[in-house]
């Protein structure tokens, strides 16, 4: 193996496909987008370099950007907390189940493998004031709220609703990752702790939690990045409306690029999104200390 690695020609040949793919599919487009973000670019004419104009407009004049940023951060915090807590809770419960573990695992994971577009439309129908949940509430004399079209409050009701739908859809993924990690913890450690008089809850706090920390970093990073670039449920349930109140960064980017032909400006939003994702990854990996134990 070492001999093979010493052969520079072989190393180049082996690295070339991955390097080419990475460059063509990821690196070149990112550089292009960075350049477009400094341009007035309609996608149909040549990009016109305008310096920081797009970024200045974004942070000083674009009211929708402020709403989108607020909603994206809300979504990240909401998803981060709820998916971690509920995902871990489900993982612990299912790991300790003797009967029906696989059945419930599949039930919780099922929404994750379904199309977001289909689920978005399904929930939009369920929450439609004419045909959905409100009709059922109406039968018992309760007038349901405008689930997807209320606009009051710092975080309007539709954002909470979409947050809940996203939680329902993706909590299975977090659960599965935690289950994999918990399953890897040796039973001997638990048994030793029980002999020493530890209760199940103390064993969870002092054994399970420290040992699943590496997975906490992974799942939290996935949750946060996934939430920041979240698009499909928003697009299928509210299209960012009414009046942009449920706009998130990705949907705002989409509107600016594909509805108004402002590809330059949309590129600058995507760069902000990229930076946010990178910052969150660094913050999570720096804040959560991971120690490796021999489990």
């Amino acid at each position: 193996m070492n001999k093979l690695l010493e052969d520079k020609k072989a190393a180049v040949i082996f690295l070339a496909p991955a390097f080419l793919l990475f460059t063509l599919i990821l690196f070149v487009p990112i550089i292009q987008v960075i350049y477009y973000s400094f341009c007035n670019y309609t996608g149909l004419t040549k990009p016109d370099f305008v310096g920081l104009k797009n970024y200045i407009y974004m942070f000083t004049s674009d009211e929708t950007m402020k709403t989108a940023l607020k909603n994206s951060i809300f979504f990240m915090v909401f998803s981060g907390i709820t998916q971690q807590v509920i995902g871990l809770f489900l993982a612990v419960i299912l790991t300790n189940l003797k009967w029906g573990r696989n059945l419930f695992k599949n039930i919780y994971y099922l929404p994750c493998v379904l199309s977001s577009a289909a689920l978005g439309l399904l929930w939009a129908f369920l929450l439609n004031p004419k045909i959905g949940l409100n009709q059922l509430l109406g039968m018992i004399g309760v007038q349901g709220p405008n689930w997807l079209f209320a606009t009051k409050g710092l975080i309007p009701l539709p954002m909470w609703v979409i947050g809940f739908v996203a939680l329902w859809q993706y909590v299975g993924q977090t659960m599965m990752l935690y289950m994999a990690q918990i399953s890897g913890i040796s039973r001997d450690i638990y048994e030793a702790s029980y002999i020493d008089g530890a209760s199940k809850s103390r064993a969870f706090i002092h054994i399970t939690l420290p040992l699943i920390r590496p997975m906490l970093v992974t799942t939290l990073s996935l949750n946060c990045i996934g939430s920041l670039k979240f698009f499909d449920l928003i697009y299928n349930m509210t299209q960012g409306g009414p009046n942009h109140t449920t706009e998130v960064l990705a949907s705002h980017l989409y509107t600016q690029g594909f509805k108004f032909f402002k590809y330059g400006y949309a590129s600058s939003i995507s760069i902000v999104l990229l930076i946010l994702c990178m910052v969150m990854t660094v913050v999570i990996s720096k804040c959560i200390k991971v120690e490796t134990y021999e489990a």
Binding site: E63, P242, N243
Partner: protein
């Protein structure tokens, strides 16, 4: 051996399945195309592959619709493929209305502009004209095909002409008006309102009689914006619209604020679910007899009669009423559906043949007699065959002294129109007072349009 045979069989099945998935259906009328659009083709004639093929993009599914205009368009495509069998063939790319421009823009940006595509007048068309996507049809219409040009009604090209250049061909003409349910009006003891105050009084009586006075969609913001546009026009007249676009009048002008106040007042009489209802749902509320009035373009005739043919006999129409002390109310919001030919098409002759077929006597007669929209040519109409609503609108158009485009489509850009629409939704939802909402439009114009 058996295992190998099964594996081979399954692999072959997968390969065949994958390959067949890549094909384009020519007789079922629906295959999934790029970008989530649906590619459909005429059911009667199949492409042989030897013809010159063109693509036409449209904002409704030709095979899954009750809309009579769409059905008429399907007939045109069928006729085209039949008449030019072996010579030309038209493939159809369809999308739902809400995503139409997004998908069209993506195709344009990718260099795959359809040979012919439908387009609204105003900023939507302007953006394709500005970047050179739309072909200049002036020479073709005025010189090469002058006989065809002569068939069109006077002034029909006005809103699709840029610096003297005709950039599209209209296929039909619609006017926005108030549809009303004559039965509900009778039960509530209401007459057709003569002015805005009458309209409010009528709404009160209809509400007392237990019906929803007006069905409107704020979920599809342009529907609400159409009422707002009428109120702005009735308050300030045509000069206001011209002046704000030229930067000579502020959006915070009293006439706009008053229009916003009236929009808020009128919106008390919308159905409870107006904030979330789509355009189709709001229209359905009306033709299902739940609401007394619907402010819509005359394209709704095709939708109403197509979905509930029995409703035709009790559907009346009146012009959006004027406001006491306001501008001349004898103006109607009108718009044409337009076909744009791509400037980069390599099939100009075939594309022109298609454009002609959309505006020939058969298609135009169908437009009026079946779908109830106004033809763009001087074709002879049998009014007995046409929907009753068509005759009402035709009579109304005879007395109209002026027209205007949709308010949001008459503004400086697609984004400006979107901003106006959203400001009106803000007023309706109570998120902003009329003053605050129009101040937002003013700020947008100051920064982005007037660039003061």
């Amino acid at each position: 051996m058996m295992k190998r045979f099964i594996s081979g069989f399954l692999a072959a099945g997968l390969v065949i399945g994958s390959l067949s998935g890549c094909g384009v259906s020519t007789n079922t009328g629906a295959t999934q195309g790029a970008g989530g659009t649906t590619e459909s083709s005429a059911a009667t004639v199949k492409a042989t592959g030897t013809e010159e093929q063109i693509t036409w993009m449209f904002w409704d599914n030709l095979d899954a619709t009750e809309d009579l205009i769409t059905k008429g368009y399907k007939q045109v495509i069928d006729r085209f493929n039949e008449q030019y069998k072996g010579k030309y063939y038209c493939n159809v790319v369809t999308s739902n209305l809400e995503d139409y421009y997004t998908k069209l823009n993506a195709l344009v940006a990718a260099g795959n502009t359809p040979d012919v595509f439908i387009c609204d007048p105003g900023p939507n068309l302007t953006q394709y004209v500005d970047v050179g996507v739309a072909a200049d049809l002036t020479d073709i219409l005025k010189n090469k095909e002058s006989e065809w040009y002569k068939t069109f009604n006077d002034g029909i090209f006005e809103r699709i002409t840029y610096d003297g250049k005709i950039m599209a061909v209209p296929t039909n003409f619609a006017a926005a008006c108030v549809f009303y349910n004559t039965e509900i009006f009778k039960k509530a003891g209401v007459e057709v309102p003569k002015d805005y105050n009458d309209l409010i009084e009528a709404c009160k009586k209809i509400k007392e009689a237990g019906y929803t006075p007006i069905s409107c969609s704020a979920g599809t913001s342009w529907c609400l914006s159409m009422i707002a546009g009428y109120l702005c026009d009735r308050e300030g007249g045509p000069d206001n619209l011209i002046a704000v676009n030229e930067g000579k009048l502020d959006w915070t002008n009293k006439s706009f604020i008053d229009a916003g106040t009236k929009l808020k007042e009128l919106s008390q009489y919308f159905q409870d679910s107006a904030a979330g209802d789509s355009n189709d749902q709001a229209t359905a509320n009306f033709y299902n007899g739940e609401a007394a009035m619907l402010v819509q373009g005359s394209w709704a005739i095709a939708q109403i009669n197509g979905n509930n043919p029995e409703f035709e006999s009790k559907c009346g129409i009146f012009q959006f009423p004027g406001i006491e002390g306001g501008a001349n109310p004898n103006r109607m919001i009108v718009k044409t559906d337009n076909l744009v030919m791509s400037s980069s098409t390599k099939h100009q002759e075939a594309s022109l043949a298609l454009l002609k077929m959309f505006t020939d006597d058969t298609a135009q007669r169908y437009t009026a007699e079946v779908a109830g929209k106004i033809p763009v040519t001087a074709v002879k109409i049998d009014f007995d065959k046409a929907p009753k609503q068509f005759a009402y609108i035709s009579d109304m158009m005879k007395t109209v002294t002026g027209t205007l485009g949709f308010y949001n489509e008459s503004l400086a850009s697609v984004e400006a129109g979107d901003f106006f629409d959203n400001a009106m939704v803000d007023i309706y939802l109570g998120n902003a007072t009329p003053e605050e909402a129009f101040q937002k439009v003013q700020d947008f114009y100051t920064k982005n349009v007037w660039k003061k």
